[in-house]
């Protein structure tokens, strides 16, 4: 039996870290999942003008201060990209890479997904388009898979697909790293759309169409309703009440994931509220 944490917190920005601090102070066992280097967006922020007590602090200094706070409480970050959160009734399964963690409550602090889906992406989702190589890769054994790589973990997933598929077409976008395997072809063309007929069969780029049997779109952040099947959203934000409760009992959301304003001080406050609500939820079970 894997360990079941009291609270799993997904995201290492100010919301997630604030939630982790409060939950730890309240004596709960926590799993803090996300990039160990903290939220990349945070480290790149030039200057934060309105965080009480820390006037005109740089994003990098703020990230260091948050790290030091976690260290002082002995909170460790489990590095990983969460692929899915499953509401199982009175517990949650959290899939990150090859591992599935278990927790009694979950706090989503995963930020807001940037960028719109590609034309054809949603139309063909589940019909040739997938967000999870480890989930669906084996359906394309001996065939051609395309990987649209928008995140650092995409290279590892492409290498996994290369062990199954005859060919892997790898489209690195932005700073995605390059995988290594004989049957991976790196294609430096920007994906513009996904095409198909009944089922996706090609990636369209500026240079033309690249045919593939399965197309894996791997992004840093997935839409919350994709991350958590059954989760209610309003536009791009998770629907929450003032206690940061979502429609799924035991699941809370805070920070940018819960909507505007996108401010660190608001994120930290909501993280605190979410953690207190999770503690209350656990005490009533």
């Amino acid at each position: 039996m894997p360990q079941r944490y009291d609270i799993a917190i997904i995201g290492t920005g100010p919301a997630g870290i604030s939630a982790a601090i409060t939950a730890a102070v309240r004596g709960k066992t926590i799993l803090l999942l996300g990039p160990a280097a903290l939220s990349e967006k945070l480290s790149r922020a030039e200057k934060i003008e309105n965080y009480p007590g820390l006037p005109a602090i740089s994003g990098a200094d703020f990230a260091r201060a948050l790290s030091a706070h976690l260290d002082s409480l002995g909170i460790r970050i489990t590095d990983g990209r969460v692929g899915a959160v499953y509401a199982m009734g009175d517990w949650f399964g959290i899939q990150a890479g090859e591992t599935t963690y278990e927790a009694s409550a979950v706090i989503l602090a995963c930020g807001v997904a940037q960028g719109k889906p590609l034309p054809g992406e949603e139309e063909f989702l589940g019909r040739g388009v997938s967000y999870c190589a480890t989930c669906d890769g084996r359906l394309y054994r001996g065939k051609t898979a395309a990987v649209l790589a928008y995140c650092a973990e995409a290279a590892k997933e492409a290498e996994f697909l290369a062990t199954l598929c005859a060919r892997v077409l790898y489209f690195p976008v932005g700073r995605a790293p390059i995988p290594r395997a004989e049957n991976i072809e790196v294609i430096r063309e920007l994906p513009r759309a996904i095409a198909g007929e009944g089922k996706a069969n090609a990636v369209l780029t500026d240079a033309g169409a690249r045919e593939a049997d399965g197309i894996f779109v791997l992004r840093d952040a997935v839409l919350p309703e994709r991350l958590v099947p059954g989760l209610a959203t309003e536009g791009e934000r998770v629907a929450v009440d003032l206690s940061m409760r979502t429609n799924l009992p035991g699941l809370f959301a805070c920070g940018d994931a819960a909507g505007r304003p996108y401010q660190y001080v608001k994120a930290a406050g909501q993280g605190n509220t979410a953690a207190l609500s999770a503690v209350e939820y656990l005490s009533k079970r």
Partner: protein, 104 residues
Amino acid sequence: MVTKIENEKMEKALEAKAAVVDFSATWCGPCRMLAPVMEELSEELKGKVDFYNADTDENPQLAGKYNIYSIPAVLVFKDGQLVGSSVGFRPKADMKAFIESKLG
């Protein structure tokens, strides 16, 4: 109870008044999470609808016939006719509402 479909034979599901077939595989994470949900629903909907599970590795022809490109895929049949399908994990209440909506 969820009945396992073996050797590509799903005639029983097609002969039933109402049947749900969960296409999945042992290596698929969401499928493993969905399995206990389907097991519980098979008890809650006992007498109304029969539940089946088809492993896509063991039943590749069925998976091809029903155009299974992503799993878990839950197909709902009424008097042998496909009346609905749902791809991916769903929490129990959601899945139950989906199945009931397709059976009318």
